[in-house]
Symmetry: none
Subunit: 138 residues, 4 copies
């Protein structure tokens, strides 16, 4: 049976799956994995990936666990006029409200998350999903 | 006669009323109570409530006292184009501009506030109102 | 068998044990409980407890889990000339390096922590120990 | 000829050398590698390594490049009464002034740094040196 411990051991597998997908689409990425407490487990910046996206990738991973939701879904709720407009000002700026953060689940339980930043929202999301699925398969 | 002191004594009553309402609607919440100075008196995170909402619940309570207003009302004023657009950038990120923060009053005088976060805006608001009413009744 | 979940359920028991000890010694306290991820579970400020100690109590609880150590022990290591001098500047000011933060353990595993602030180092430590023991007994 | 590019490619090699040394001494570590701009390239937290040391490891790597010096040497200069006393308050808390941060050099040129946190000063320093040497040899 997998435990949080296993997420530690598999954090690199998750990152490698993200790197493989980023290489496939030809866009260098920053990729972060956090544990169930939102604490950083592993991080990789690919060659030529945006330096400003280090913080964003880590923030997306943190956010996906903090609210147990894909940051892509949170984006809609955080628009002007929506329920959570202004949420990006909370938590000392760690809340990222655009695509690229995906929870990692053990059945129905969220045990961590992955965050990806360096491309368009669609690219970030695709790489994050590929990374998260590597854990599901692992 | 009630004093601020009494709010201290009753902070748990307020939180318990919030917890009861949260259980009734079946959504775990973070609930915070601040005093007349905006300083945290009591806080509770229910099982499985969003970790990212700890800061938000405390921020909503602080905001409701800081401007003597329900954060729900502040939301309208803080939209793009409205009078207070940008207010969320002030006060080191403590200003929360969506529903869930409710002042606690002694007659017309604000003597504290409650902040709730963990669900939709409507859910947060309902739990915050239930909590604040417990004081009014208490 | 106890789980982290149980720590959630018992957070108030831990705080109540701290309040009882604080009343016994006649010094109002701020008491915070965090979970295994360092995330705030419950907090109480007693009547007339120092307002500046809200942040300190929460910081002590966070620190005791972040380094799996009593903050009292960390104090020695953080003095000028010692191994960890300067550690208080890390983690955005959350690291508290004086007595009053105590890990909560399940056997050998740290599953949370309690932080107390409002009196002397000795008083804070005594109340934190009483609080942590309530969980061990619970 | 090695370039910054090469540091990117070798960041994992550096981290792996650190992990190997940490396993050899039996103390789990947080290990961070930054590039010539001080920007995070790669990070790993080993199982059971202190959560509070994530920020410290990254800070040590940043500091070692920011001042082109081992943080161990900076420690002496940052004591009360010494030339750089107070430096830990600069740069938004990123300056770590205890052992465990080591510059990575290409001949005489600093092209990045490694930061390690999770044990005593001596342990952190030993793991950081082992990691940095992996690049020199690589």
């Amino acid at each position: 049976m997998r435990t949080t411990q296993t997420l530690d051991l598999n954090a690199r597998t998750i990152i490698d799956a993200g790197i493989a997908e980023a290489e496939r689409i030809g866009n260098p990425m920053n990729i972060a994995v956090v544990d169930a407490g939102g604490c950083l487990l592993a991080f990789a910046r690919m060659d030529d990936a945006w330096r400003g996206s280090v913080d964003i990738a880590i923030g997306k991973a943190w956010t996906a666990r903090a609210f147990d939701v894909e940051t892509k879904a949170l984006a809609k709720l955080a628009q002007p006029g929506a329920d959570f407009y202004g949420i990006h000002a909370s938590n000392d700026g760690k809340v990222m409200i655009f695509a690229g953060g995906v929870p990692i689940k053990e059945g129905e339980t969220v045990i961590g998350a992955v965050g990806v930043s360096g491309g368009t929202g669609k690219q970030d999301q695709g790489v994050a999903e590929a990374a998260a699925q590597a854990f599901a398969r692992g």
